[in-house]
């Protein structure tokens, strides 16, 4: 039973527009959330994280929003660039170092 779900396997966005990637989780005990970005033939690389004591964290063009009551988080990329085209994984944890990952959303940013 998957505790972290990314229900959109793919997303296509025009360059310069906003990309919104969504993630849902079922375990209310999760207290830390991350987004990873993965290019083909490479391992995932850390992008941005958020603790459950916050509802927003921003890093440049990337912002993660957390809605604990809805058990939902989202990653906003503004403006989207072709180099952002990759698979994005969300992950959640309730104990240090043990993370549950979603199945990823493939983002395609069209020039």
């Amino acid at each position: 039973d998957q505790q972290v779900k990314q229900n959109s396997p793919s997303l296509s966005v025009q360059e310069g527009r906003i990309s919104i990637l969504n993630c849902d989780y079922t375990n209310s005990m999760f207290d830390y959330f991350l987004w990873y970005k993965k290019y083909p033939a490479e391992g995932p690389t850390f992008l941005i994280s958020i603790s459950s004591i916050k509802d927003k964290n921003e890093d440049g063009r990337f912002t993660v929003f957390l809605n604990k009551s809805a058990k939902h988080l989202s990653l906003h990329i503004v403006p989207s660039q072709p180099g952002d085209s990759a698979v994005y994984f969300c992950a959640a944890s309730r104990t240090t170092n043990k993370f549950y990952f979603g199945s990823g959303t493939k983002l395609n940013v069209k020039p």
Binding site: Q2, P44, F46, S49, A91, S93, N97, K98, S103
Partner: protein, 112 residues
């Protein structure tokens, strides 16, 4: 200057064989992990070692045996390979207590 490296990158083998995947990190981390990315693309943790000691052991068949000769290495040995073992296996590392994990490029295992 690769941070987390895995060998081999691709592994094709027959059912019933025994194979190993090696992982090394040069980041000075004390915790290492093995993940399996299955056909549905979920990344699932299999094992975690901290300072050569097993700290996470998910429900994984005992045909899978991790071995950590030192803090910089965590190898994965798989006995009696089955078709369902076909997947991409990722190694990762971190400092214990840090939430950011650094991943290797993955090993695509195909069992025929």
């Amino acid at each position: 200057d690769t941070a987390v490296s895995q060998t081999p990158k691709y592994l094709v083998t027959q059912m019933g064989n025994d194979k190993s995947i090696k992982c090394e990190q040069n980041l000075g981390h004390d915790t290492m992990y093995w993940y399996k990315q299955d056909s549905k693309k979920f990344l699932k943790i299999m094992f975690s070692y901290n300072n050569k000691e097993l700290i996470i052991n998910e429900t994984v068949p005992n045909r899978f045996s991790p071995k950590s000769p030192d803090k910089a290495h965590l190898n994965l040995h798989i006995n009696s390979l089955e078709l369902g073992d076909s997947a991409v296996y990722f190694c990762a590392s971190s400092h214990k207590g840090d939430n950011e994990q650094f991943f290797g490029p993955g090993t695509r295992l195909t069992v025929l």
